[in-house]
Each structure stands twice: as structure tokens, then as C-alpha cells.
């Protein structure tokens, strides 16, 4: 027996909250990737996502994980997952919980602009030096803290226009 329309949408959001970004230890809902979820009268689910970086290799993995999770909901007939570009991803889309989880992972996150002064996630010092704009993933850059001498990474959003 299929569950009702409204609870189907609720179940879809529950699945989305359980999908992690393979390159960042947070849920895609905390990263702010999910733009909207629609369930039509035929119990088909459509999810629209806003990518952080359009060439990110994780996008296909995320799409697959969402598809798999949603198809497992009893009553869901079909699933489509698409990336959209008409609204840019910005740091404002990330939740406070997402920021806290990234910080706990040792990843600094700018509050709203990449250009703002970086802060060492270990000792809180502003006395830091950029090592490279291009870190281990497209969305991270690398720094060294001159105060506590730790290397650290910082989340790199696409440049603000």
C-alpha cells in the first residue's frame, strides 16, 4: 500500500537528509544542494539540486545515492534528479549545523565571502598564509597557520560575482 502524497514528500526529505556528500562529511541538505522536491499525483519524485562546483566528480555519485534512496521508499513510482543553474550556489545555502560539522572536521568555512580573512580552525588565529587556492577537492583551498603552525583547509565557494 502506498503512503499518502504529503508523507511521501516527507519521506523523500528524510532520504535527502541521510545522503552525505562523498567529499565532505555533511548531509547534502546541510550543504544546501537541494533546491526543491516535487511529488506528482503519479507518485513520481523530482529533485532539483544546485551544484557547488559544476565539474565536481561527486555530483554523479550524489545523484545515484539520491535515486537509490528514493526508489526504496514504498510507493515511489519513479525518480528524477537534476542539477539546475538558474540559481547560483552560495555560502548562504549552507546550514549552521553544516558549518559546525565542517569545522569539527578541521575545515574552515568563510561566513559569507571567500575574500573575507581566513581563520585557523584549530587556534582561531588570523595569522595565516594561503598555500594554494586549489586543494584536494575543487571546493577546498589549503592554508598554513603561522600561529599554531598547523596546515588546514578552507571551504572554497565559487567566486562571488
Amino acid at each position: 500500500m502506498s503512503i499518502a502524497h504529503a508523507s511521501l514528500e516527507q519521506a523523500a526529505w528524510d532520504v535527502l537528509r541521510s545522503v552525505e556528500d562523498p567529499e565532505l562529511p555533511i548531509a547534502i541538505t546541510d550543504l544546501g544542494l537541494v533546491r526543491d522536491v516535487r511529488v506528482d499525483a503519479e507518485s513520481r519524485v523530482n529533485v532539483r539540486l544546485v551544484p557547488t562546483w559544476t565539474a565536481c566528480p561527486a555530483l554523479a555519485v550524489i545523484r545515484g545515492r539520491i535515486r537509490e534512496g528514493l526508489l526504496a521508499i514504498p510507493g515511489v513510482r519513479d525518480v528524477s534528479v537534476e542539477y539546475t543553474y538558474d540559481e547560483p550556489w552560495t555560502l548562504a545555502r549552507m546550514t549552521d549545523r553544516g558549518r559546525e560539522q565542517l569545522a569539527a572536521h578541521g575545515l574552515a568555512v568563510p561566513s559569507c565571502r571567500f575574500a573575507e580573512p581566513p581563520v585557523c580552525p584549530y587556534c582561531g588565529s588570523h595569522d595565516v598564509e594561503i598555500e594554494s587556492l586549489f586543494g584536494p577537492t575543487l571546493c577546498r583551498s589549503t592554508y598554513v597557520c603561522r600561529h599554531c603552525r598547523n596546515p588546514f583547509e578552507r571551504f572554497k565557494p565559487p567566486a562571488e560575482s
Binding site: T54, A55, D86, F134, L138, P158, E160, S161
Partner: protein
């Protein structure tokens, strides 16, 4: 997603718009491939990772534009990228040239990123969705490439080493081909008449020169006087593209029906 631009009904304009997008995609796939050749052999680990990341992004952008042209049927974008002979590629010749040395790759990166940023700005104003939104999004990503190129260019050209002479030689070699970014075909006028393209190639070139000149002069470099070296936008390429194309398509050709 249907093959765009679904909203353009005039077949002449449709075909001109497709040609424009093909230039963008082919530029990105060739420069992306050349950048990727630095993976593992960059001058230091940070630059190696940076050039590899830039390559990854350009190839990703190429894929997005091929999808815009082809629609998203299974393998359509791949066929555009890998199943056309070199003579059907519309990339500027500069982007197919081998890397020669780090200084050449950095000069080429600086010249191309400036052009690419401005072209994405024009595409963002073309009035055709989703291409316009996509172009605006990609423009934000490309900005970091330009910062990387400028930082390296300044570092290489800094006296007293022989760096500046080598960078100048790379600039002299790259410049005539960089002017080929602005090579036109019949498509340009059609796009302008239809209101999709808002700047003539001449004005684009002026804007580009106006943007690269301050960077080059700050590095003590002189812009050479040279004629445009043309051909790429009409499918007339150097043997370098054929060699690169053979390598780039080798895996795909081994099993064109494979799904990854």
C-alpha cells in the same frame, strides 16, 4: 533536457548558436586535455594539483556545453566529444598546442582565462536558457583560474633570473594564436543580427586586450605586434590537434558503446 536552443525557431540562427556553443565546448575540452598533461609533472605539488583541478573543471565545463548541444540522451555528449574528426573541432589553435614548458602553459592560461571570462559574460547575456544561467555559474568558477595564472606569471617574470626572457618568448609564440580566439565565421553576424551576441569580434578583442595588457605590462612584458593566426574556428587545425585527438579518443574508440 532537449537539445538547445529549443526556443530558437529560425534554423540559420539555431545553427549559428550551436556553432558558438561548439566553439566553447571544443575550447574547453582541448585546453582541459593539455592542462591535464601537467598532472604528476608540475613544477611543485601545489601547482600540479592546481593545474589538474583546472583541467578537471574545464573538462567538466566542456561536458556541460556538449550536453547543451546534444541533449542528454545516453552517450550523446560523449559522441560529440570523441566521435568527431579533428576537422570538425572549432577550438582556437592556441589551445591545441603542446605545452612546451611551464611558462608557455601559464602564459596561455592567462590569455585564455581572460577571454573565457569575457565570453561567458556574453553568453550569460544571450537570452537563451539554460545556457545563459549556466554561463553565469561557470564564470564564477573560472575566476580562480585567472588568479592562479596571474600569480604565476608575476612570479616567473620577476627579475633578476632569465625568467622574464623566457616568458616573453612564450608570449611572442602564443600571441598570434591567441588572436585566433576572435576569428569569425558567418555565425557571428547571424548571432548579432538575432540579438543573441552583443559584441562584435573586434570589440571583444579590444576588451580582451584592455584586460590582459595591464597584467602583462606589470610583469615587464611587451605585447608583440603580430597578425592573427587563424583556422580553428573553421576546422583548420595544426597536426598537434590530430595527435592530441588520437590520444584523447583512444579509450572511447576501444568501445564506443561502453557506459561509465
Amino acid at each position: 533536457m532537449p537539445a538547445v536552443p529549443a526556443t530558437i525557431t529560425d534554423p540559420t540562427v539555431h545553427s549559428a548558436f550551436r556553432e558558438w556553443l561548439l566553439r566553447v565546448a571544443d575550447d574547453e575540452v582541448t585546453i582541459g586535455h593539455r592542462h591535464s598533461e601537467w598532472t604528476g609533472v608540475g613544477p611543485d605539488i601545489e601547482s600540479d594539483v592546481a593545474m589538474s583541478s583546472i583541467a578537471q573543471e574545464e573538462l567538466g565545463h566542456a561536458r556541460l556545453f556538449y550536453e547543451q548541444i546534444a541533449g542528454d540522451g545516453p552517450g550523446d555528449a560523449d559522441r560529440l566529444a570523441f566521435d568527431r574528426p579533428p576537422a570538425e573541432f572549432r577550438n582556437a589553435i592556441l589551445l591545441e598546442q603542446p605545452n612546451r614548458g611551464w611558462e608557455f602553459s601559464i602564459v596561455r592560461l592567462a590569455l585564455y582565462e581572460t577571454f573565457e571570462g569575457q565570453r561567458l559574460g556574453l553568453l550569460a547575456r544571450c537570452g537563451q536558457e539554460p545556457v545563459a544561467s549556466l554561463a553565469a555559474t561557470l564564470g564564477r568558477e573560472e575566476r580562480y583560474h585567472g588568479l592562479f595564472a596571474a600569480a604565476w606569471l608575476e612570479r616567473l617574470a620577476r627579475p633578476p633570473a632569465d625568467g622574464r626572457a623566457r616568458v616573453q618568448a612564450a608570449l611572442d609564440a602564443a600571441w598570434p594564436y591567441a588572436l585566433g580566439f576572435f576569428e569569425t565565421t558567418g555565425a557571428d553576424q547571424i548571432l548579432m543580427d538575432a540579438g543573441l551576441l552583443h559584441e562584435s569580434a573586434e570589440r571583444q578583442r579590444d576588451a580582451w586586450e584592455g584586460a590582459v595588457r595591464p597584467l602583462l605590462e606589470r610583469c615587464g612584458l611587451t605585447i608583440p605586434s603580430a597578425e592573427q593566426s587563424l583556422g580553428g574556428r573553421r576546422g583548420v587545425h595544426t597536426p598537434d590537434l590530430a595527435q592530441m585527438h588520437a590520444e584523447m579518443t583512444e579509450v572511447w574508440r576501444s568501445d564506443p558503446e561502453a557506459r561509465w
